[in-house]
């Protein structure tokens, strides 16, 4: 199967509110696809349509080769953002229940395997409410993947994890891809999305605003920041043409240009005033791009996003 998910002109409204608007999306099989977008942008609605929890008002949702229906697909695994666990159930009992709900009845070996891999063999008879947040998050992850789904949807999987556990879980997610599982990974952690995702998709106000590899996205958003280091410490700069903003980042200064063409004149001006030891043009990060799209700006007394300003 070439594509795990194909959404064609999908629209979903709740009353007067249009949560998803004419959305097209193709997620190739075996990839890690990052879903980003601010709160209330239509991300969860899209995920719920993929999970068959919601039906679209119009358009089509094709998941693992099946067009939309009302039957939940056992080949999908889902990890919701935090929670999602019965607090009074024991770990094995809960994982067995979730696996059986997916039609995977001989699950004992798989549960033990995952618990061992994520360092949780001693929790097997513990109640969920006695686990730490990190432990519970790992159990949540196992619940999503224990039935060996072909497509896994992870909503903020690293929430509440310390760096060591985060690495463990990251390796687990990457191993899923190695086994051919398609992973949809919804997050607000842009750095993690940059590090893990093959493709990134951003939804904003129900519409797709980004879709492609990080390189492709960055190519669409040209660099406009220049990172400079001086030999002598300084805080004051004279008026510099074409510079919108200056920020100190550690031992560097970041100059935000109106256009990257201003970089040459900036270098010339700085060299006239100080000794420059480092001068580099920085590609926009996913974080920068996200903020650029979603940050509201004041226009004619109204808060509008950049997206709205440009349109």
């Amino acid at each position: 199967m070439e594509n795990a998910i194909v959404l064609r002109s999908v629209t979903k409204s709740f009353g007067a509110h249009r949560a998803v608007d004419q959305l097209d999306l193709t997620v190739p099989s075996g990839s890690i696809y990052g879903f980003i977008g601010p709160n209330g942008s239509g991300k969860t609605t899209t995920l719920r349509m993929i999970l068959r929890i919601f039906q679209p008002d119009s358009g089509s949702v094709e998941v693992l080769g099946n067009l939309q229906g009302t039957t939940a697909d056992d080949r999908l695994g889902y990890l919701p953002e935090e929670r999602g666990l019965y607090k009074r159930m024991k770990v094995r009992e809960l994982l067995t229940y979730y696996a059986r709900l997916k039609g995977f009845h001989q699950c004992r070996e798989a549960i033990d395997g995952w618990l061992e891999r994520l360092g949780g063999t001693t929790w097997v008879n513990k109640r969920i409410d006695s686990l730490s947040k990190g432990m519970a998050q790992k159990i949540q992850f196992i619940a999503a993947v224990v039935s060996r789904p072909q497509l896994v949807i992870l909503d903020e999987p690293f929430s509440g994890l310390d760096p060591v556990n985060m690495e463990t879980l990251k390796d687990a997610v990457l191993s899923l891809r190695q086994n051919g599982t398609t992973v949809i990974f919804s997050t607000h952690d842009m750095e993690m999305a940059e590090r893990m995702c093959d493709t990134i998709f951003m939804i904003f106000k129900g519409k797709k605003v980004l879709d492609g590899s990080l390189d492709e996205i960055q190519a669409r958003y040209p660099a406009n920041r220049i990172r400079v280091r001086f030999e002598n410490h300084t805080e004051e700069f004279p008026q510099l043409p074409g510079i919108r903003d200056i920020q100190r980042v550690g031992r560097y200064f970041e100059f935000q240009c109106l256009e990257i063409a201003h970089s040459q004149s900036l270098l010339k001006s700085l060299l006239e005033q100080r000794i420059v030891t480092d001068f580099r043009i920085v590609k926009p990060s996913l974080h920068d791009i996200f903020v650029q799209i979603a940050r509201p700006e004041m226009v004619n007394g109204e808060l509008l996003t950049t997206n709205e300003v440009s349109t």
Partner: protein, 453 residues
């Protein structure tokens, strides 16, 4: 269907394999039948109380007779107390020792037969200091012919005490004084009191059941009905039905609220559709309710066997009870499920459930009227009002009176139809509500979900 069973199995385990379930099994009957159990316990631990009562007998004719009556009463009470101690709770007596009447009376005359206000105050203070129990004022004209008196208020006997108006001592005195006055009045008219007593001897009217044919086709003798059984068996059966419905529906509410607030519902709906989820939950709940029924019925059978009450054990009600219980549990569990899906916290559910509780409890408020007239208009009306059908029918059947089979069958069909409609509407509310976040929906909104999805 496999998913429905998986969900039902978890729901069932969650319901019955908890300490709360075990505690509820024990506590619910105690709470429901609390007063009856308490009275039984008090009966066993009852002790004889001594009451000293001052009597101001202005007629100067009754005190001596009253003291004689008190002596007879005290001897009877002491004999009963002794028998109760020897034989334990089961004394075998026709009127077993009852702590409510376990009072010994000492009647003493006041220094003057007519009391002044100061004397009344002084005796009242002695009662407040607990040196006395009560004092009584008997008017001088108590034996006068009431027909010749202009004002019968002069005939009133006044009983002064700290205790309530239903105190045993006042009741005993009232009974004894009236008996004595009646005797005196009859003698004054030249009528033999002994003859009157013989003539007034009541004739027992025995309450019999109807005559039936037995399994061999022979006409079986009618059974004498037990007064207490006639009243308490219907009450117990109705409370039993109420308890089973309550104990089964309440966990459903908590379970759905947990699944919604903890976002478990999203995971479940990613694995099963709303119909499967709801069907599994209802099936598990019905299984739990049948377990409650089985535990109580087996427990009841053992108690009945131990006490020799097996002939009064309502075996004939069991099939009807199961049928109406299953429908009643489905009916209310579906409502609780819809309410649980519409709210985020238990306290938000309370206001939505208040009218539901009122309707479920309706037969509990009028049970005595139904027991008195099991085929009357009230019983008839509540039988065909589906929220009350299960409890009302079982209450009517347990009275032992003949309830037309057609009425029971119509009630059953009506209940099946009503339950099907409620489950279908609850399913629509559940589907929308379980993913609904934010404020509690208004009733109009719930109606919109129910009828338009």
């Amino acid at each position: 269907m496999k998913k429905v069973w998986v969900i039902a199995a978890r729901e069932y385990r969650t319901m019955v394999a908890t300490k709360t379930f075990l505690i509820s099994l024990i506590m619910m009957p105690l709470l429901m039948m609390g007063s009856m159990v308490l009275m039984t316990l008090l009966k066993d631990i009852g002790e004889v109380k001594h009451r000293t009562i001052l009597v101001a007998d202005a007629s100067e004719k009754l005190l001596g007779l009253l003291q004689e009556k008190a002596t007879i009463h005290n001897q009877r009470i002491e004999a009963q107390a002794a028998a109760a101690k020897t034989d334990g709770a089961d004394s075998g007596s026709d009127s077993p020792f009852d702590s409510a009447n376990g009072e010994l009376y000492t009647l003493q005359a006041t220094p003057q037969s007519q009391l002044s206000d100061e004397q009344r105050l002084e005796i009242s203070d002695r009662i407040r200091d607990e040196n006395l129990y009560a004092f009584v004022e008997i008017p001088a004209q108590i034996l006068a012919d009431p027909a010749t008196m202009a004002n019968t208020t002069d005939l009133r006997v006044k009983f002064y005490s700290l205790d309530s108006s239903i105190a045993s001592a006042r009741q005993w005195l009232s009974q004894v004084i009236n008996e004595l006055v009646r005797e005196q009045r009859l003698q004054a008219k030249g009528i033999d009191f002994q003859l009157v007593q013989i003539a007034s001897q009541p004739v027992p009217v025995v309450n019999m059941g109807l005559v039936n044919r037995d399994v061999d086709g022979q006409v079986a003798q009618a059974q004498e009905k037990q007064g207490m059984t006639d009243i308490f068996l219907p009450l117990i059966m109705m409370m039993f039905m109420f308890m089973v419905i309550f104990m089964s529906s309440q966990p459903m509410l908590e379970s759905v609220i947990e699944e919604k607030s903890q976002r478990i519902a999203e995971v479940l709906l990613g694995s099963a559709n709303p119909f499967q989820l709801m069907a599994g939950k209802l099936l598990g709940t019905v299984g739990g309710s049948l377990t409650i029924f089985a535990i109580y019925i087996i427990g009841g059978w053992f108690v009945a066997q131990d006490r020799g009450w097996l002939d009064q054990f309502p075996f004939h009600l069991v099939p009807w009870f199961i049928a109406f219980q299953v429908l009643g549990v489905l009916f209310y569990a579906a409502i609780f499920l819809a309410v649980g899906a519409s709210v985020s916290q238990l306290k938000e559910a309370q206001s939505l459930l208040l009218p539901v509780w009122m309707v479920l409890m309706l037969p509990l408020f009028v049970w005595l009227l139904i027991v008195r007239d099991p085929n009357g208009p009230l019983a008839f009306g509540l039988t065909f009002f589906p929220p009350s059908t299960s409890t009302t029918i079982i209450l009517r059947l347990a009275t032992g009176q003949t309830i037309p089979l057609a009425e029971i069958l119509i009630g059953l069909v009506l209940m099946i139809v009503a339950t099907t409609i409620v489950v279908a509407l609850a399913g629509r509310i559940f589907r929308v509500g379980i993913l609904w976040q934010g404020k509690v929906p208004k009733l109009s909104e719930l109606a919109r979900w129910a009828f338009f999805g």
